[in-house]
Every structure is written in C-alpha cells, then in structure tokens.
C-alpha cells in the first residue's frame, strides 16, 4: 500500500508560493501585452487595408492551429538559428503574448461586429454628442460583449502558462518540478500544485465576475 507523504511538500510550501507569484506576474503581463496585440489586430482586421487584413488572418490561423508548446519551442530553439536568442522567461512572455493576441483578436473583432449601425444612428438622432455615442453606445456595449470571453481566455492563458516550464522558465510548474527533484514525492507535489492552480483559477474568475458586475451591469437589473 502506498504511503502518502505530504510533509516535505508542506515544509517547502514557500517554494511553491514563489512560483505562484511568478505565474501571476507572467499571466497578467502577457494578458496586458496580448490585449494590445488583440486591439491592433482587431482594428486592422475590421478596417485596415486588404494586405494587412490578410496578414492578420494568417497570424490568427497559424497560432490557433498549432500547439502552444510547439510555438514556445519555435521561439526558444528555432529562432536562435536566425540570430534571435531570448532567455526562457522572455520567450515565455513573448509566446504567451502572441498566443493570447491571436485569440483576443478574434474575440474583440466579434465584439466590434456585434454593435449595429442602427444603434449609433439612433444615439445620434436623440442628440448625443460623438463622445457620448462612443462611450455609451460603442465602447461600453462592445466591452460588455467581449468581457466574458476575454476573462475565460485569461484563465486559459494562466493554466496554459504551466507549459513554459518545458523550457525551464520560472513559474509555478517549474517550482513544482524543482520541489519534485528535491523530495521525490512526485504525486504529492503535483497534487498540491494542481490544487493551487485550481484555487488561482477560482480566485481570478471570482474577481473577474465581481468586476463584471460592477462595470457592465445593465441599469435595469438594479
């Protein structure tokens, strides 16, 4: 019968907590940068010149139809052949940003598409200034439309970031790997790590739901 031994894992919990902090930092940084990429991508896709729209299409399709692990390997092991050599952590951030950017571009493009012209014309007809139209009729409904998809994409990004340990970037999974090679309590180490990831994803989805209720609730719901 297998004897579970969680003691060495809990004794070194601070090691995992440092990893948690790295994972949070990396995920938030990649999402912020990825949102910029998404906004540019979506803007080009909806109103850019034809060749640029085509480029955005290729970017989105290439990223969405290849595994994230292969994308990291390409940047980390492949690009040095072209003279571009990046540290594991920079590679991880870059790969997560590029990956999030592709999914985000699609999400935000769908959000922009969801605002109908009639809404804007109606707002102008009742005498709203262009700033009011932009704020209340374009930006707020568009954000409301894309917000749930973007937040769940962020959770996927955070969970997917565990893969960056494959190129020994520092994150929670890498910390777990280090702890595993110190204690050899593999099952216990990864079970505790999994529980931490679950807590993180519940924490973030609760925070996002709260922000969503604060910022995007319809007045009629109150």
């Amino acid at each position: 019968m297998y004897q579970f031994n969680f003691a060495p894992v809990f004794n070194a919990l601070d090691m995992l907590l440092v990893g948690v902090w790295y994972t949070i930092q990396m995920s938030v940084a990649a999402m912020s940068l990825g949102l910029v990429v998404s906004l540019v991508g979506a803007a080009l896709k909806t109103s850019g010149p034809r060749p640029l729209r085509f480029c955005v299409d290729i970017y989105v399709e290439l990223i969405r139809n290849t595994p994230f692990l292969v994308q990291i390997f390409f940047i980390f092991f492949g690009l040095p052949a072209l003279g571009i050599r990046l540290s594991p952590n920079t590679t991880a951030l870059l790969a997560l940003t590029i990956n999030f950017g592709a999914y985000g571009t699609e999400i935000i493009r769908a959000g922009i598409k969801s605002i109908s012209k009639g809404q804007i014309e109606a707002a102008q007809a009742i005498g709203l200034s262009w700033l009011q139209v932009l704020r209340y009729v374009v930006i707020k409904p568009a954000l409301r439309a894309v917000y749930p998809a973007l937040t769940s994409q962020f959770i996927f990004l955070m969970l997917g970031s565990s893969v960056v340990s494959a190129i020994s970037a520092t994150d929670l999974t890498a910390a777990a790997n280090d702890l595993n090679s110190l204690t050899f309590a593999s099952f216990e180490v990864y079970l505790v790590t999994t529980v931490i990831y679950l807590a993180l994803s519940i924490l973030f989805s609760t925070i996002f739901a709260g922000i969503g209720r604060l910022c995007f609730a319809y007045p009629v719901n109150r």
């Binding site: 290439l62 969405r64 390997f73 092991f77 492949g78 052949a81 999974t173 999994t194």
Partner: protein
C-alpha cells in the same frame, strides 16, 4: 556525430503523426463517452448527479492539462499499475476531453427548446426514449460546430504528452532536432504538420457554425 536532416528524418517525423492522431482519437472517443455521461448528469433531475458533474467540470477546466497528465502519470503507480506514458496520456486526455465535451453538450442539450422535452413527457415517453429519440438528436446538430472546434484543441493538447515522454509528433521533432542540430527546420516542419491536421477541422467548424446560424435564423 551530427546527423544530416534528410529524407529519413522527415519520414520519421511525418510518421510520428500517426501517434498524434491515434492519441487524439482515443482521447476523443473516451472523452465522448465520459462527456455524454457528464452532460446527462449535469442536466439530470437528481441533485447529487448535477453536483458531481459541476465539480468534475470545475476541476478539469480549472487546472492545467499538464498537471492532470502528471497526476495520472504518477498516480498510476499508486493504484498498482505500471508507469506508462501511453496509458497516462490516454487516460488524462480522455478525462480532460470528458469535462470540456460535457460542458459543450450540456449547453447543446439546454439549447433544445424546452417544449420538446415537455412534449415527450406528455406522450409518456420514458427517460431513455425522451433523451435518445427527442432531445439528443436535436442537441447533436447544435453541438456539431463547437465539438469540431474542441477536436482541434484536443489535437493540439496531445503535444503535452511529449513532456511525460510519449513519442508523438512534438517529441519526434525534439528527437530529430537534437540529433541534427537543425531546430529551426525541424520545428517548422512539426508546426506545419499540426497546421495541416488542424486547419481543415477549424474550417469545417466555421462552416458548420454558419450553416447552423442560417438554419436557426429561418
């Protein structure tokens, strides 16, 4: 000695596709069986079944696939089975797929107009007939596009099996890359192969979606 990156190496990588495809199929079939069970439990009238399904989906959607692979890989040993990358990858990916397909199909079942289920009740159909002949065939049409989309995600996810040492496409690429010192070429080839596998499915998913929207709009 450094190996050349020649025809043999290309063939080795292309043939490793079969392991990626095999693992994807096993995970998809296993996930479909589990996913159907989870979806039915999720919409069940039994509170306990609903609670189990919600918990299952939460846990598998709220933790990284890599951790799920590790836990199954090291957990096999604990329940007395030999540590085997094939078995661990297949089981972990099937469980992972069951959670995602369960959630997709739950949505599809609930999207069937409630009058359909009520009509089946009114005709005094039992649970099996109501589901098998009335609800599920209609839900299947709604589910076709997102299920195809998830298949793409699942194929990409099989690349993580390389981390626990299962030799599929990504691992084959790493092996050749290490032997030939041509990482740029090798990883590009691997990426192209994944793309050729996934892109047609993505296009199919999009076509199913627009076709469904057209039918739904009528």
């Amino acid at each position: 000695m450094i190996r050349e990156f020649g025809a043999d190496e290309v063939i080795y990588i292309v043939f490793a596709l079969r392991w990626t495809i095999a693992l994807s199929l096993i995970a998809f079939v296993g996930g479909a069986v589990g996913g159907l069970a989870i979806a039915l439990m999720r919409v069940s009238r039994l509170g306990v079944a609903r609670l189990f399904a919600v918990g299952f989906i939460r846990v598998f959607q709220g933790t990284p696939l890599l951790m799920q692979l590790f836990i199954v890989y090291f957990g096999l040993n604990i329940i007395g089975l030999p540590t085997n990358a094939w078995l661990a990858a297949a089981v972990a990916l099937a469980l992972h797929a069951a959670a995602f397909l369960g959630e997709i199909w739950r949505g599809s079942i609930q999207a069937v107009p409630s009058g359909q289920g009520e009509a089946a009740d009114a005709l005094a159909y039992g649970y099996v007939t109501r589901m098998k002949d009335v609800i599920l065939p209609q839900a299947a049409r709604i589910a076709a596009a997102p299920t195809t989309g998830f298949l793409v995600q699942l194929i990409k996810s099989t690349s993580l099996a390389s981390i626990i040492g299962f030799t599929e496409l990504t691992r084959a690429g790493q092996i050749i890359s290490n032997a030939t010192f041509k990482p740029f070429l090798v990883i590009s080839l691997v990426a192209v192969l994944y793309f050729l596998l996934c892109w047609p499915l993505s296009l199919a998913a999009r076509r199913l979606e627009t076709r469904f929207d057209r039918i739904a709009a009528r």
